[in-house]
């Protein structure tokens, strides 16, 4: 699919980059965000990058849809996925255990592998931050190894603790705060994913690369984790 700029609403366009998410598409979107910030500052109110699209909201009082469409076309010229860099590499510690990850056995049964293998596979690769949304600080990380992919729970939990490391389909995430949730829980991360009191508020941003690293119970508590 060629890139297309579609109307989203009275004050918004959405740019579709591809039909599928991939690290290349994500890099392109990051490059587009940078171009728009550089070329259209002052008339853009907010942007929402996601898997294969970018929502751009403009200020109705400062510009008009013609000018914004034109500006977006210019900003999409020569988007080079290679040169846009690939974000920062961030390592997040995880206490994997049946105590902290009540769905580890579900993932293991689903993939017909052992719990140790689930933990092993989850740490083996680098993930990309494709989108942030759903809740403040909730980062969608992909693509998860198919061997540990599992569907959402049929009945969501009423309470998922802050820091829960979770899996849904081929995505993984760390819950930024206690909330209801339907993802499978495999461990706990002591790093705060969203803290209004700290600067920066989030340790990750869209386009960054994430690695998970197993820690034991003792280290988890030392790092401020709560059970």
């Amino acid at each position: 699919m060629a890139m297309s700029i579609e109307v989203a609403g009275q004050d918004a366009f959405i740019v579709y980059f591809s039909e599928q998410a991939s690290p290349q598409v994500s890099s392109q979107i990051q490059a587009a965000v940078a171009n728009i910030n550089a070329q259209m500052a002052g008339i853009i109110v907010d942007m929402v990058p996601s898997y294969a699209s970018l929502l751009v909201i403009f200020d109705l009082n400062k510009t008009d849809p013609f000018a914004v469409r034109h500006g977006l076309k210019q900003a999409m010229v020569g988007l080079d996925a290679e040169s846009s860099g690939s974000g920062e590499l961030i390592t997040l510690p995880v206490y994997y255990s049946e105590e902290s990850g009540p769905d580890l056995h579900v993932i293991a049964e689903c993939g017909n592998i052992s719990i140790d293998q689930v933990i092993e596979i989850h740490q083996q690769q680098e993930y990309r931050v494709y989108a942030i949304g759903f809740a403040p600080g909730f980062a969608f990380l992909g693509q998860l190894d198919e061997r540990i992919a599992a569907p959402r729970l049929s009945t969501p939990r009423e309470k998922v603790p802050r820091g829960a490391v979770a899996i849904a389909d081929r995505q993984t995430a760390v819950y930024p705060s206690q909330s209801p949730g339907g993802w499978n829980l495999i461990g706990l991360c002591p790093t705060r994913m969203f803290n209004p009191e700290q600067q920066p508020t989030m340790p990750v941003k869209v386009g960054d690369r994430i690695r998970f690293e197993a820690i034991d119970r003792h280290r988890f508590l030392e790092l401020g984790g709560e059970l």
């Binding site: 579609e6 109307v7 989203a8 609403g9 009275q10 004050d11 918004a12 959405i14 599928q20 998410a21 109110v45 907010d46 942007m47 929402v48 990058p49 996601s50 898997y51 294969a52 699209s53 970018l54 929502l55 909201i57 109705l60 009082n61 008009d64 849809p65 013609f66 989108a131 942030i132 949304g133 759903f134 809740a135 403040p136 600080g137 909730f138 969608f140 705060s177 969203f194 209004p196 508020t201 989030m202 941003k205 869209v206």
Partner: protein, 311 residues
């Protein structure tokens, strides 16, 4: 300290300024007044900054006690408003003395009233705005709706000549509205029959409507989409989930979602929708993005030409 003590918080009273912009990258929503026109008038009557912090009083049941001499204005939904048990008028400035008890009863026309105080309430901004989003626990006094015992600080103020908005300019809200829609997003995935149905039937506002989204009930609409990648959601976006019943996404919407959308309701009309009670009837009308832009400027110029008069 100067300000107001909350005696009874009412069903849903929230501190709101114009909204939170530029924080979607953290997953934070926009928030802000559901009916910006009524919010603007409350501030304008008092000569406040255009983004001063007000109270958005949904439904009603609010009682405040003044611990300050100042002036207020209440706009938006029609509610019985009293100071020390004596009825006062909306859409005008009213003086308040230390010790006065201010009551806002339950709405008789519309849902959301806006209560502004001269100079605005002094509420710390988080992420650039004082607007409260209960779901995110962000903004307001403690990221929550008003609670009994809360204190709303403001400065001492007085007004020499009182102002009002003449009656012929005051909106009435009623129980029906036509919502103008800029078609967009996945609109091409809704075929002609589905679009005809959507734009030619009426929908009812359901009880399951809040600051996040208004759920409507009526003719079922289907798209050809089976599964789609989550993407950014703008203000007013009309999401059609698998049950075919539209949801109009409002100020506290999630910033991303994966349901097909047929387009977005313009801001002027999400404001109208927000004032409709459950059971009200709405219809949709398609307009172009350019027409929507003209409507925005027409309304803006009308607002600027309409001057408050001496009360």
């Amino acid at each position: 300290m100067n300000g107001f003590t909350v005696k009874q918080p009412g069903l849903l009273t929230l501190i709101q300024d114009r909204g939170r912009f530029g924080a979607h990258n953290l997953g934070l929503t926009t928030s802000g007044p559901l009916d910006p026109l009524a919010y603007d008038w409350a501030n304008r009557l008092l000569g406040n900054d255009a983004d001063a912090s007000c109270l958005e009083v949904s439904f009603g049941g609010l009682t405040l006690e003044a611990e300050v001499d100042t002036a207020i204005a209440i706009t938006g939904a029609r509610k019985p408003c009293k100071v020390n048990n004596k009825e006062i008028s909306q859409w005008r400035t009213n003086s308040i003395k230390k010790g006065d008890v201010l009551e806002l009863g339950f709405a008789q026309d519309g849902i959301r009233a806006y209560l502004a105080v001269a100079g605005g309430f002094d509420i710390d901004a988080s992420f650039g705005s004082s607007s409260t989003v209960v779901r995110e626990k962000i903004g307001g006094i403690h990221g929550d709706k008003l609670q009994a015992g809360d204190f709303l600080p403001c400065q001492v103020n007085s007004i020499n000549s009182h102002l009002k908005l003449e009656e012929q300019h005051q909106p009435s809200y009623g129980n029906q509205a036509t919502l103008r829609v800029v078609k967009g997003y996945q609109q091409a995935a809704f075929d002609n029959v589905q679009q005809w149905r959507f734009f030619n039937s009426s929908y009812q506002v359901t009880e399951r409507s809040d600051r996040m989204g208004f759920r409507l009930e009526g003719e079922v609409i289907h798209s050809d989409i089976v599964g789609m990648l989550s993407e950014g959601i703008c203000h007013g976006a009309i999401q059609i989930p698998a049950d075919g019943q539209p949801i109009v996404l409002m100020n506290d919407r999630q910033t991303i979602g994966g349901y097909p959308k047929i387009g977005s309701v313009i801001h002027l009309d999400t404001a109208r929708l927000s004032q409709l009670a459950p059971g009200s009837e709405v219809r949709f009308e398609a307009i172009s993005q350019e027409q929507a832009h003209n409507l925005h400027w027409l309304e803006k110029s009308r607002y600027q030409r309409t001057k408050p008069v001496k009360a």
